[in-house]
């Protein structure tokens, strides 16, 4: 493995057991850092606002990204549209620590993702299942997040995607070796990465959970199911008391095995974000099926 690929995968290991929070400006970034976030994700609008306001969602204004970088010392990630090579090059030029090639923004390419191996800066990408995760890793992603359904505050899709990923990893791990090529063909995944999963029983990169976390208990649930950390988008800054909720979610991720601590962290946080029941959503309103 090349040094650059290794240090990019290694940075994600340092984020494990932590919470990465969506922020749209420097003030939110400071709140996130003070609450104990391990990184912030810069984007133009949080997913709940993208849903409400509609229109095309794009990369943030570079000035806002620079202000966020100046405001905090934790890693700063930023979102680029799927397939938008130039947004990603701009983010690399801004020296963000991680680029999220994200289905939450409006895709720029409905057929191809970015050739992430051509970049020095690492990428995180979303996935709903093992095939999707391995395709992104094959393109050069150094970290995966299961997608969930961003901006809904409904945890069911995050649970479905994480469970699906682990179920498929278990199938590959226990399959006889002669079945692996057919599995690779059927899930549309590179054979060498299927072989890695077969041999190691896990992805070759860190996997966080995203898309729907609104409460400390939601975050701890994803840790319980095997996520190595959690992304929280609208769940924090669309709630009544973002600072308190951010602290509580960090605490719950650290103490995911301790219900007494989660209970204490969950007390008196005020209103969570208003949710959307994903079962009632139109297919076209879903972000997760974008860029698979």
């Amino acid at each position: 493995m090349e040094d650059r690929q290794q240090v990019n995968r290694d940075l994600a290991k340092m984020l494990k057991g932590g919470v990465i929070m969506d922020v749209v400006n420097a003030d939110q970034a400071r709140i996130a850092e003070a609450a104990g976030a391990v990184a912030v994700m810069a984007l133009e609008r949080v997913p709940a606002d993208i849903r409400k306001q509609g229109g095309v969602a794009r990369m943030s204004d570079p000035r806002l990204i620079k202000e966020i970088q100046a405001a905090v010392s934790i890693p700063v990630m930023a979102k680029a549209r799927i397939g938008h090579i130039v947004e990603a090059r701009v983010l690399e030029a801004l020296q963000v620590d991680y680029i999220d090639e994200s289905e939450v923004l409006t895709p720029a390419d409905d057929r191809y993702h970015i050739d992430k191996a051509a970049f020095q800066v690492p990428f995180v990408c979303g996935a709903r299942n093992l095939g999707e995760a391995l395709r992104r890793i094959g393109e050069g992603a150094a970290m995966i997040r299961t997608k969930g359904e961003a901006g809904t505050g409904d945890i069911v899709e995050a649970v479905r995607h994480l469970r699906t990923l682990f179920e498929e990893i278990r199938q590959v791990a226990k399959a006889p070796r002669e079945e692996l090529m057919t599995m690779a063909k059927e899930m549309g995944a590179p054979y060498d990465l299927v072989l890695y999963v077969h041999q190691h029983g896990r992805l070759p990169v860190v996997n966080f959970s995203a898309g729907g976390v609104a409460t400390p208990a939601d975050a701890a649930l994803m840790m319980t199911l095997g996520a190595e950390g959690v992304f929280v988008g609208s769940g924090i800054f669309k709630s009544a008391d973002p600072a308190a909720r951010a602290r509580a979610i960090v605490k719950a991720v650290t103490c995911w095995q301790d219900p007494v601590a989660i209970a204490a962290a969950s007390e008196g946080l005020g209103e969570p974000m208003a949710g959307i029941d994903t079962r009632a959503m139109d297919e076209a309103a879903r972000y997760a099926p974008r860029g698979v």
């Binding site: 340092m14 057991g17 104990g36 890693p75 620590d97």
Partner: protein
Amino acid sequence: MTAMRVGVLGLQGGVAEHLAMLRPIEGVVAGSFMRVSELERLDAVILPGGESTAMGKLLAEFGLLEPLAARIAGGLPVWGTCAGLILLAKDISNDQRHHLAVMDITVDRNAYGRQLHSFIGAELIAGLPGGPFPLVFIRAPRITRLGPGVQALAKVAGEPVACRQVNMVATAFHPELSGDDRFHRWFVELARTAQTGIASRKP
């Protein structure tokens, strides 16, 4: 030989990687810890890489700052990697915050730049046989001052990247990510010597 109980601070970060390095070492029982009651039973502690601001905040919330600082002052062998080094440092440049503040060094956080500047090298480390050791630097802190009692163990471009002050060891790089267990074995030996020393001083 009694088992050496090594605890990796389990609040956040590269915990599993340290445990995977420690577990094959004979005579070592390794686990993660995040409670004061767990700290009391340990013979040596590793503070892993991660985000120092997040870890420092959680250390305070879990009531670990003072008990851990007191045990280290009392001679508990401790090794901080990257963020763990920042937790140990007495002074952090351009930052009023400090955490355990037990080791007489000054560090500059993320001084090697952003993720684009993370790199892998190799250098000889004092006391470590077997040739150059792989050095994995990830958004690494820079050690800008060593106090009089602190010894540099390795340097990159003339600057210290690993140092020791009696029972305290700090590395700006990540041996737990290097696939080479020599540094972990060396730390366990250091801890074992300290343990024997403490035991022999008992009346």
